[in-house]
Symmetry: C2
Subunit: 267 residues, 2 copies
């Protein structure tokens, strides 16, 4: 029975499922392909989380949602951010349903609160119930109520790590738009090389070196992502970062086949 | 501050916001007009719930979602029912946001479980938090997990009464596609007359007479609706049933102005 199997957790970055430069533009080709790969991989127990990309971020930024409540004028931006995230979510769930996957959209803000941007209230019983029924819960980064600052943004990465730890996930696969972690920013330095494997203590060491000569590129949001990932690695969950913009990478990662990317291990 | 004001709760029937005969067809004219009336009424503390109409019902029926889990084949129907409800919900929230109302979609199935179709787990703290922030929570009838039968349908009417009681609402306005409660079915009998006011004990008496000569028409779903309403009436909440397909009825009801319809009172 699916409920007794440790789930796999897939995070699809906003830059994977949307066209980052164009406000509210989905990458329907990639979404459709990924839905097919997920179907083909036939995973018994699976949770999917996606980011905001060009859907949630422009509104969140325009109305300063991350910084919390300051004026009534932001409230309509809080609405718009959520509506945008749900619109993107609908496209992804629809693509999965077309592939005959019983994907179930679960709105994070309907059951998660934060406190200063960190999850403070979270009841995983519903998600557990869905996994038990062989449903595939699909969540996303969302604009949520915040006990301390009124509202905030709950990132897909924070949510992914929290869900994985709470549900004792077997593995997290982070689908991003680069091949994995690099020694330097591969978009700026052609000599940057992909790190295929890294242990938790090496990762921690690299994080401390930020601003000095590091051994890992932690630019372009990678720093924040890695900070969120660490508690999951500490909990013994295997992490793989792959390029989900490229065909078959997600499929191979889900099937535990050899695939280009970065593996993060506890020790 | 809005959070200290007893909220008004508006339920918009599925037959109001959709074209009942055509699968997945919204009544955008009515939705747009109602959003305008809600804006114009300037209510400080407001919750809106809507039904499924031609969105949720066809899938729920096709896959037997109300009867609970029987086979894996239903799971895709569970997904489809939820997706359809979210699609309808999006149209309504978008219409409110266009009217500069900070409406916030809240997915019932993300925080409510049922047991044999009745709400068994329900934490209203998030909705309270939204009201406190002057947001307008918007919920809907939904396909939810059920502790006893796997999954079920949580009707918008059940949810409305539960929310109203838990949040100590001042009033519930039920927007339907007839003018209120009648002595007989107005669509079958031209002599049927509208009941303008009814007390709880009279209502209870009429319910017992079903199948015999009653004094109230309880056909076409009205019986189920009234059964759900009774706990709210018992809690002292004023109930008004109005025809939301007709212009200005909702506005007038929200403003406590004289309006055609049926008022249900505790005593």
């Amino acid at each position: 029975m699916a409920g007794t199997i440790a789930p796999k957790v897939v995070k699809l970055g906003g830059s994977v499922v949307t066209v980052k430069e164009k406000p509210r533009t989905p990458d329907l080709t990639v979404i459709g392909r990924l839905a097919g790969e997920i179907k083909q991989a036939e995973i018994d127990s699976l949770i999917i989380i996606h980011g905001g990309g060009s859907y949630g971020h422009p509104y969140a930024e325009e109305y300063g949602i991350t910084e919390g409540y300051k004026s009534q004028g932001q409230l309509i931006g809080f609405s718009k951010t959520r509506q945008a995230m749900m619109a993107l979510n609908k496209l992804i769930v629809d693509a999965l349903v077309r592939n005959n996957i019983a994907a179930v959209s679960v709105q994070p803000s309907a059951f998660i609160h934060t406190k200063k941007g960190r999850i403070s209230e979270f009841n995983p019983s519903l998600i557990k119930g869905m996994l038990k029924m062989n449903l595939v819960p699909l969540l996303y980064g969302d604009a949520v109520l915040d006990e301390a600052i009124g509202f905030s943004i709950l990132s897909g990465d924070q949510l992914t790590a929290k869900l994985a730890v709470e549900l004792k996930a077997e593995q997290i696969i982070f689908g991003v738009d680069v091949d994995g972690l690099y020694t330097e920013d591969p978009k700026l330095n052609p000599d940057a090389s992909l790190i295929e494997e890294i242990k938790l203590n090496e990762l921690r060491q690299s994080m401390k070196k930020i601003g000095r000569a590091g051994t890992i590129d932690v630019t372009r949001g990678m720093f924040g992502k890695i900070l969120e990932i660490i508690p999951a690695v500490e909990a013994g969950i295997r992490i793989k970062i792959i390029n989900a913009k490229k065909a078959n990478r997600l499929y191979r990662a889900l099937r535990n086949e050899k695939v280009k990317g970065t593996e993060i291990e506890q020790r």
